[in-house]
């Protein structure tokens, strides 16, 4: 019995791509410390391909694991491919997340999109997947429950 499966725990205990890039081509943050998680994802882009990505995350175990997995998934992908990634794919790659933690994968997904959005703005590019995209739009309210001792 554990809170998280082995893949999530591995990405939490030994996260990949922690840190910041020196001259990122795109930088995105999502969430806020007030809500309990805030992610920053930075990307390095060459010829429309993400060649490097780094993250910094304030958050719980699954927020850190989602950041690690999400950055691992986008490295080597083209911008178009990275934009196609959904939070569901992040969850699947992690082998599942507890229902109350699903929003962590949404956060990672949004932080990626925000980093790409920033890249698009700076590089003067447009992507169909980003049409009408609002980097500050709130995620949906998530479920709450409570047990206290």
């Amino acid at each position: 019995m554990a809170l998280y499966n082995d893949i999530v725990m591995e990405h939490f205990m030994n996260p990949k791509n922690v840190g910041e890039l020196e001259n990122p081509d795109g930088s995105g943050t999502y969430g806020s410390p007030v809500c309990g998680d805030m992610m920053q994802i930075q990307i390095k882009v060459e010829d429309e391909t993400i060649v490097d990505a780094k993250f910094k995350t304030f958050g719980c175990g699954s927020a850190i694991a989602s950041s690690s997995m999400a950055t691992s998934m986008i490295i080597g992908k083209t911008i178009e491919e990275a934009l196609d990634i959904t939070n569901k794919q992040i969850i699947d790659a992690l082998g599942g997340l507890p229902p109350v933690k699903v929003h962590c994968s949404v956060l990672a997904d949004r932080a990626i999109k925000n980093a790409i959005y920033d890249y698009a703005q700076k590089a003067g590019k447009t992507y169909a997947a980003l049409e009408g995209y609002d980097p500050n739009e709130d995620e949906d309210e998530h479920d709450h429950g409570d047990i206290e001792e």
Binding site: F12, G36, F58, H144, D146, E148, E149
Partner: protein, 389 residues
Amino acid sequence: MRNVYLDYSATTPVKDEVLQEMIPYFTEKFGNPSSLYDKGLESRDAVSHAREQVAALIGAQPKEIFFTAGGTEADNWVVFGAADKLKAKGNHIITTKVEHHAMLHSCQFLEKQGFEVTYLDINEEGRVTPEMLEAAIRDNTILISIMMVNNEIGTVMAIQELAAVARAHGILFHTDAVQALGNVPINVKELGVDLMSMSAHKIYGPKGTGALYIRRGVHISNYLHGGAQEAKKRAGTENLTGIVGFGKAAEIAKRDFDKHVEHCRTLRNHLVERVLAEIPNTFVNGTMEHRHPGNASITFEYIEGEAILLFLNHAGISVSTGSACSSNSLEPSHVLTALGVPVEKIHGTVRFTIGDFTTMEDVDYVVDTLKNVVSRLREISSVNTQKGW
């Protein structure tokens, strides 16, 4: 790997002395305390003995102790029993924002049925003052309920002074003493409380057993209806083993009180001193002065509590978080919110609670581990002292 349990406020292990006392009541001495033959009377005597043991711990008469299925039932009984009994007199209840959910959710349920509830704020120490209580009293107030010791930040409330305010107005006064029992001196007569909730599993007794102290002469309606057990006030065949265990645990709590308090306080102070000295950007929530001897509620800025908990768990250490994020809730703690801790910092709060089986080596191991965990998580975090929140 070392295993260090620092969550004694969540629950405690049953002490061997307690367990040995309970065992015969599962097997040979299993009679129903209501039965009239010897086997029943033997069980009835055991329940009476336990009642004396619990009464002795709090300075009550045995007749004033009513066994329940735990602290939650005792709290519910008070809220619904007092509301029903006194509804002709009024429909206003006063409690605090920092009560356990057993109290808060019961009050919220009553609100849906037309009762009015005032949830008192706490001051910067985490306490309610007699003035704050006095100001909330109305003509139609029928019950005041203020916990003796808070389960998250360990603050000890000035129950004697608060109960005196209630008494001056002729209003029933209840205190949830689940965290206080065995950890702070309790004499119900000196405190002047009318009703008091207790639970066995926080004092090295079994889970699912507790009691409500009802001062002689105080009347509230029954909560559980059925047989004539507990002087016709609490129906249901007695949880014989649980009650026997609770009695023994109470006896030990009384016998070893000074030693227990001294042990917990020494280790707790050592933990707090080392953490504050060796880990930057940390602070203790609530006053150190009026505090549960084993409680340390500490905020680690710029990181999140569940992540700390997971790393500590990996190192064999059990603690709980203030954000309750790990206990299936994403809501920031209502207690820390009431204390005025900024929400982003509430997320980085960990509750360490020390008990009788904790050793100095355990505490040092926890602090040493924490130092690594906190610096690791701060490396990962997107917020820090330079960037700010």
